[in-house]
Symmetry: none
Subunit: 155 residues, 2 copies
């Protein structure tokens, strides 16, 4: 059966050709995949090892520490610690009693209240107050208060 034989040869040949072509196509496709996956793979590798390098550098390697010294201004409250101006006070040359009266006077007390407070008569208080005005060079108790506060003569 040469005809059949010939036909079988032709069939085999065609089959082989088909297989070959299929194989080649498969390989070509595989190469395409491999090429693509290679790019992706290499890219992932690159990213991974870059991160690894950074991690190694930051974690295991000695970190570069720069010490920056910053001066911070701390404003200190002048803690209201009141201090009598002794200098100005001595200039006035007040007597003890006069200074006592001045202290009460600067607190806003009236002559009567000062008298009660120091167990004096109003007359005596008036005398002290008047001499105070002369020594302090003022003409009223209100000016005396203002000056005493300004010069820090009393607490």
């Amino acid at each position: 059966m040469p005809l059949l034989y010939k036909a079988r040869h032709s069939l085999l040949y065609g089959l082989l050709m088909a297989i070959l072509v299929f194989a080649l196509k498969w390989l070509q496709w595989k190469f395409l995949i491999v090429d693509h996956s290679l790019d992706i793979y290499v890219g992932l590798i690159a990213v991974f090892f870059t991160i690894l390098g950074v991690w190694v550098a930051t974690q295991l390697g000695r970190p570069a520490i720069r010490t920056v010294i910053v001066e911070k201004a701390v404003y200190v409250q002048p803690v209201e610690e009141f201090s009598v101006n002794e200098t100005e006070l001595k200039k006035l040359n007040l007597s003890n009693r006069e200074y006592e009266v001045l202290q009460l006077l600067t607190k806003g007390l009236s002559n009567a209240e000062i008298a009660d407070n120091l167990c004096l008569s109003i007359s005596t208080v008036k005398t002290h107050v008047s001499s105070l005005f002369v020594k302090m060079d003022v003409k009223s108790r209100t000016q005396a208060i203002e000056k005493a506060k300004r010069l820090k003569l009393t607490a």
Copy 2:
């Protein structure tokens, strides 16, 4: 020539088989090479990018900055940094004119002086002063001065 024909067929077959085998072998070798070169390539990539990562971390990465804060006491000038106590001032609910009178009053001025200063009659000043006393809950100008100074109501 069936024999020749058959022989040519066989030759062609053998040739095709040889080519196929050769192609397959070549592809196998190429795969081997590719596999090997991939390892090498990946290794090189890994090393390169690790080094790149280290370089990035050390060169471009910001160095760790250790900030040392040194507190430096700065003494505030005791320069009369006076500030009016707005809070307490608003509590009193003083009118504009009353506050003007209070400002002069705390400077030790008499009613007559305040009247001159604000171009008012003494009566008007007395009216303002009286209402001031009520609002400030005091009973005399001396107490008003003391309270105003204490609460920092005026300069």
